[in-house]
């Protein structure tokens, strides 16, 4: 038995080396080269630039807090794109229940007539770039007021930003917060 094991060591060592070169080296490098040639925008993180400066990735949430911008969902990672995380608080967690009650009360104090569940719950990644169309429309009056824009104009921007499920089944109705905020700025009234 020991002899069989020993005789397996040469193939084990050679295969480890060979596969490390092929699967750990050639494969990811070839995919990188192809990806950079075919889909450079996506391959480099779907970054958005404005005036030559990277302002973020269209796929990652940022912690917008000013009244003149749409706000994302709360983040357990504080929107840190180098340390994604959820809260991991469980179904019977008193800490979670208190946090949600407090955040919901704060939103109601800001004039939200109704608090959508997604706006008081942290996402899985802490970087969820989307909110629901309802959550965006609820924020429209605040944004409009801060920007001295007609509410209808802001609501129209929200409606234009709504992404719908693929083939009616895959995904949910959603709005990308960063893209919506860029559309707001582009609408002519500079942010806060």
């Amino acid at each position: 038995m020991l002899k069989t094991f020993a005789s397996a060591l040469r193939p084990a060592l050679v295969m480890t080396g060979g596969f490390a070169l092929l699967l750990g080296g050639a494969y990811p490098l070839a995919i990188t080269a192809a990806a950079q040639a075919l889909f450079p925008h996506q391959a480099n993180g779907s970054l958005i630039e404005r005036n030559g400066r990277v302002i973020g990735s269209e796929l990652l949430a940022q912690g917008f807090a000013a009244p003149a911008y749409f706000h994302p969902r709360p983040s357990a990672a504080n929107y840190d794109a180098s340390a994604s995380a959820g809260s991991n608080l469980g179904p019977a967690s008193a800490a979670l229940a208190q946090r949600i009650a407090k955040d919901a009360a704060a939103l109601r104090a800001q004039g939200y007539p109704d608090v959508p569940p997604a706006m008081v719950t942290t996402s899985a990644s802490g970087l969820d770039p989307h909110i629901s169309p309802e959550a965006a429309l609820l924020q429209a009056p605040r944004v409009a007021q801060a920007r001295h824009m007609p509410v209808a104009r802001v609501e129209a921007l929200v409606r234009a930003a709504i992404e719908t499920p693929l083939a009616g089944v895959l995904g949910e109705n959603r709005v990308n917060v960063l893209r919506l905020n860029l559309a707001l700025d582009a609408a002519g009234h500079a942010g806060a």
Partner: protein, 567 residues
């Protein structure tokens, strides 16, 4: 945001399940060619690579091995692979492609991670984006995502040969099986799949990070890397180890509802194909369909309960439609479905934080893992784990009718049944033993984030996940300690190889037997009666063994939620 169950939610689950069934034959045919060692259209391109590997290793792929030699060669490979990655992680600080200057990993952490990836578990005590360099991710980890998957499929092939061959002394050549599966199945699929993922938004670059300046003037550091190449094999090989801490919930790993759907399908694709391949190998594809049917019934039951609870079940904070730990682009249905898929298979990727699921929604993943991940299951490990239960089921049926049990033309005797029980007993021994240990020792009790029964659930989840080689977590558990790294490392190794060795012994024992033609007295193993018996045996063994532990964790959690008692 839709809360509550919807038609489109159920539609998603049913369409998904139908597609998994449709994949069985085409994937199975391809697998069967590799099982038989026949040439595929890809041999023209990759044949020279394959032959080069054999020549350099001094292997004659046509020379077959008995079960013991097959197992020893497999084990030698795993030991070398473990040490290889252990060395890379320890030396990370001096290795290339590390512009952020990340330090080497400590002994217990490096050993835990090396074992985690070699055993197809991909348990991650660390947050990938903050701890690992691109070199460690690519060379140290991605390689195992291929090879641990190929090893699982090789073991399944050896067991298939045990059933298919008559009076044979050998079960195949491990190196040939492992190399062929890697070169002609996993690698080509991953090339196409990775590029699809990039097109949808998954990064693939050697750059490490980029700084963004937000519209409000804040700074955001964005970690990038060769994500897509790892993501593809992470799903296809049921590995589950994410590039980022948030895994497939991270928008860079899983940017859209479409990538999410394809990721779920790719977790099940090969496992589904292996059921067809088994049927074909033993000369009756209906044997494979019966297995797939039993698997899918168990799967839909689990996914349905998870969806129902996540959409309509209560937590202390909310009455229904709980979005804590879920992403808006997936919503509730696709999050619940993903949790059932990833734990029915031994994948362990997550697109939502299971720790924040409702109590019963979180019970389903734990239960799926405790059954041994045989509902489609990990690539290779799912089907060989399931066949262990099939042996027990024919044994039970044989006891009832008073005949020597037979399965697909082989008499099942004391030796096979003993070995099957030995392999199945590994799960409760490791899961319950280690959980009990961690639940009484101070070092174990320091781990959970949540208080009350949910803290116990976090520990139970960890050892279920490690032993079953899943790798997902109730991630509130702080597992990056010597205590958890050590115990979970042992659980992963035991859960993988203490099952594989008896499986190979069964393969050898079956291969040596004569073919026993089915007679009028044989118990039929293709119809509805058989499917029902299989499901019954699986649920009774799994249910009775683990029910007390579930009562202490998720069920106690549910009771306290219903009583509005928080912790």
């Amino acid at each position: 945001m839709t809360t509550g169950m919807t038609m489109s939610g159920w539609g998603l689950i049913l369409i998904f399940t139908a597609l998994v069934a449709l994949l069985a034959k085409p994937v199975g045919r391809w697998l069967f060619a590799l099982y038989e060692g026949r040439d595929t259209p890809l041999h023209r391109l990759l044949g020279p690579v394959e032959r080069g590997f054999y020549r350099a290793s001094g292997i004659d792929p046509a020379r077959e091995q008995g079960w013991l030699a097959y197992g020893l060669h497999m084990l030698a490979f795993q030991v070398v692979l473990t040490l290889f990655t252990y060395a890379i992680l320890r030396l990370q600080g001096v290795l290339p492609m590390n512009p952020r200057g990340l330090a080497g990993i400590g002994t217990d952490g490096a050993m835990n991670t090396a074992i985690a990836f070699v055993t197809n578990t991909n348990w991650q005590w660390y947050a990938g984006e903050s701890v690992l360099s691109n070199f460690s991710q690519m060379v140290g980890l991605t390689i195992h995502n291929f090879l641990s998957a190929a090893t699982g499929i090789a073991i399944a092939f050896a067991l298939f040969r045990g059933f298919a061959r008559h009076e044979a002394r050998t079960v195949g050549n491990f190196w040939a099986d492992c190399t062929r599966v890697t070169l002609y199945l996993l690698l080509p699929l991953c090339v196409v799949y990775a590029l699809f993922l990039v097109a949808c938004g998954v990064p693939q670059t050697l750059a490490s990070l980029v700084e963004a300046h937000t519209l409000e003037g804040a700074k955001q550091v964005i970690v990038l890397g060769p994500v897509a190449s790892q993501e593809a094999i992470k799903m296809l090989g049921t590995n589950g180890g994410g590039f980022y801490n948030a895994n497939s919930a991270h928008p860079f790993e899983n940017p859209t509802a479409l990538t999410n759907f394809v990721q779920m399908l790719s977790i099940f694709a090969i496992g589904s194909g292996l059921t067809w391949c088994f049927g074909r190998a033993v000369g009756n594809t209906r044997q494979g369909w019966a297995i797939l049917c039993a698997m899918l019934i168990l799967f839909v039951a689990g996914a349905g309960i998870a969806y129902w609870q996540e959409a309509d079940g209560a937590t202390l904070a909310m009455a229904g439609g709980h979005m804590e730990g879920k992403e808006v682009r997936f919503g509730i249905a696709a999050s619940a479905l993903f949790s059932a898929v990833t734990t029915a298979a031994s994948c362990g990727a997550v697109n939502a934080m299971h720790d924040s699921f409702t109590a019963i929604g979180g019970l389903i993943p734990i239960f799926n893992m405790q059954l041994g991940e045989i509902v489609i299951g990990g690539v290779g490990s799912g089907i060989y784990g399931f066949l262990l239960f099939a042996l027990l089921a024919v044994f039970v049926a044989g006891l009832m009718v008073g005949r020597t049990p037979e399965y697909v033309g082989k008499k099942i005797e004391a030796r096979e049944v003993k070995l099957a029980v030995l392999a199945i007993a590994v799960l409760p021994l490791s899961i319950l033993g280690f959980t009990a240990l961690a639940a009484v020792l101070p070092a174990g009790l320091a781990g959970p984030l949540n208080k009350g029964p949910h803290g116990f659930s976090e520990i139970l989840y960890a050892f279920s996940s490690a032993t079953a080689n899943n790798g997902s977590a109730f991630a509130g558990l702080s597992a990056g300690t010597p205590f958890y790294n050590g115990l979970l490392g042992v659980a992963m190794w035991v859960g993988r190889f203490f099952v594989i060795i008896p499986v190979l012994a069964i393969a050898g024992s079956l291969a040596a037997k004569r073919h026993t033609p089915a007679t009028a007295g044989s118990f039929p193993t293709t119809g509805a009666l058989w499917v029902g018996l299989l499901i019954g045996v699986i649920l009774i063994l799994g249910g009775l063994t683990f029910l007390p532990s579930l009562a202490l964790g998720p069920i106690a959690d549910q009771v306290s939620v219903l009583a509005h008692t928080g912790f």
